[in-house]
C-alpha cells in the first residue's frame, strides 16, 4: 500500500536524520587505531557508537512508518551516495585531529538544541529518540568544546591547526540550518524541528567558544553542496564503499 503524503515526508525526514548519524559515526570510527592516545581513541569510539546507535533508532522509526519490508541494514548498506540525505559536513574526509574536533564541536553545538527541540515533536517516536540522544550529545559537546579550547589556546602549532579546521568546515555549517521541502511541511505540523530558528543561538555559542579559544570566526561563504537533496561532495561515495563492502559482497550476511 503506498504511503500517504505525510508519511512519505516523515519517512524522508527520519531517514535523513539517520543518515547524518550513520555517516558521522562511520567517519569517527575511522579514528580507531589512529587516535593520538589510547584514552582518546576509546573516547572517540564511544562517540562513534553513540552516533551509530542513534542512526539505528532513526532507521527503525523510519521503517515503522514505511512498513515496506526493508530492514535497517537495507537502508544503511543498500543505498548509493545519491540516495543518502546526510548533510555534507559529516561526509568530509577524516582530516587531522583538529578537523575531528572542529566537526564534532560545530555539529554538537547544533545537535544539543536540535535534539532538545525534537523532544517536543508531535511524533512520539522521534521525541523519544531526541530525549535519549540529547544526553549523549550534551556529553559530546562538553568534550569537543574542551578540545577546541585546549587546541585553540594551546601551542602555535595546535592553534594553527585548530583555526585551519574551523576555516575548512565553516562553509558547510550553513546547511545545518536549511530545511528541505518535506521538512518544511513537517515543521508546520509540529513534527520536525525548525532548524532555521537554531542558527542565531548556535552562532552565539560558537562565537563565545572561539573567542575563549583565541580563534577567529571565519568569513567563508556557504559551500554549494545540499546533502538533503542528494547533492554530495566526492567524499561520500568512497566512505560508503568502505562501509558497505561486506553487505555488497555478501548480501544479507549477518553476524
Amino acid at each position: 500500500m503506498p504511503l500517504d503524503a505525510e508519511s512519505q515526508d516523515l519517512f524522508a525526514y527520519t531517514v535523513a536524520l539517520a543518515d547524518d548519524a550513520l555517516v558521522h559515526g562511520q567517519r569517527l570510527a575511522e579514528w580507531v587505531s589512529r587516535a593520538p592516545t589510547l584514552e582518546e581513541e576509546l573516547a572517540i569510539a564511544n562517540v562513534a557508537l553513540d552516533h551509530i546507535g542513534r542512526a539505528r533508532m532513526f532507521y527503525a522509526r523510519a521503517l515503522e512508518i514505511s512498513h515496506d519490508g526493508r530492514s535497517e541494514d537495507d537502508l544503511a548498506y543498500g543505498r548509493g551516495a545519491d540516495e543518502f540525505a546526510n548533510l555534507a559536513i559529516f561526509e568530509l574526509p577524516r582530516g587531522d585531529f583538529a578537523v575531528a574536533v572542529a566537526r564534532q564541536f560545530l555539529t554538537d553545538a547544533f545537535n544539543v538544541p536540535f535534539l532538545a527541540a525534537l523532544t517536543t515533536s508531535r511524533d512520539a517516536g522521534l521525541a523519544a529518540i531526541g530525549a535519549k540522544a540529547l544526553k549523549e550529545s550534551t556529553y559530546h559537546l562538553r568534550r569537543s568544546r574542551d578540545w577546541v579550547l585546549r587546541l585553540g589556546d594551546g601551542t602555535d602549532e595546535s592553534r594553527r591547526r585548530m583555526q585551519g579546521a574551523i576555516d575548512a568546515l565553516w562553509g558547510h555549517c550553513a546547511e545545518l540550518f536549511e530545511p528541505f521541502a518535506a521538512e518544511q511541511r513537517l515543521i508546520a505540523r509540529g513534527v520536525a524541528v525548525d532548524r532555521g530558528a537554531l542558527e542565531r543561538p548556535w552562532r552565539e555559542a560558537i562565537d563565545a567558544t572561539l573567542a575563549e579559544a583565541t580563534l577567529r570566526v571565519p568569513t567563508t561563504q556557504p559551500a554549494p553542496y545540499r546533502g538533503r537533496l542528494g547533492r554530495h561532495t566526492v567524499h561520500l561515495a568512497p566512505l560508503l564503499a568502505d562501509m558497505q563492502a561486506l553487505q555488497r559482497t555478501y548480501p544479507g550476511q549477518q553476524w
Partner: protein, 89 residues
C-alpha cells in the same frame, strides 16, 4: 602527560574502588577519560581521579618493619572471643 589513578563507586557499592589508571593533560580531562574508559558498561555512578604522583605509597623495603611485627601478636585478633549463638556473622 601525567598519570591519574581512577576510582569508581558502582551502583550498589558504598566505597570507591581503584579500577586502573590513565594518562590525561589535567584533572578535568582525566575525569572525562575515566568516564569513557572505565564506565562504558554502566559500571559506576561516581568517579574520583587522583594524580598518581600525589599518592604516597608504602615501600616494599619497609615491609619487614611495617608488617612483620604484627605476625606474632595474635591477641590483637578477635579470635579468642566466643561468639554467642544468636550472633550471625
Amino acid at each position: 602527560m601525567p598519570l591519574y589513578e581512577v576510582f569508581i563507586r558502582s551502583k550498589r557499592g558504598l566505597d570507591h574502588r581503584h579500577v586502573g589508571s590513565l594518562h590525561a593533560e589535567d584533572a578535568q580531562q582525566a575525569l572525562e577519560y575515566a568516564r569513557d574508559v572505565y564506565t562504558r558498561r554502566g559500571e559506576g555512578v561516581s568517579i574520583w581521579v587522583v594524580r598518581s604522583s600525589d599518592i604516597v605509597a608504602s615501600q616494599e623495603s619497609d615491609s619487614a618493619s611495617f608488617y612483620d611485627p604484627q605476625d606474632d601478636k595474635p591477641y590483637r585478633h578477635a579470635t579468642f572471643y566466643r561468639v554467642p549463638d544468636d550472633v550471625n556473622l
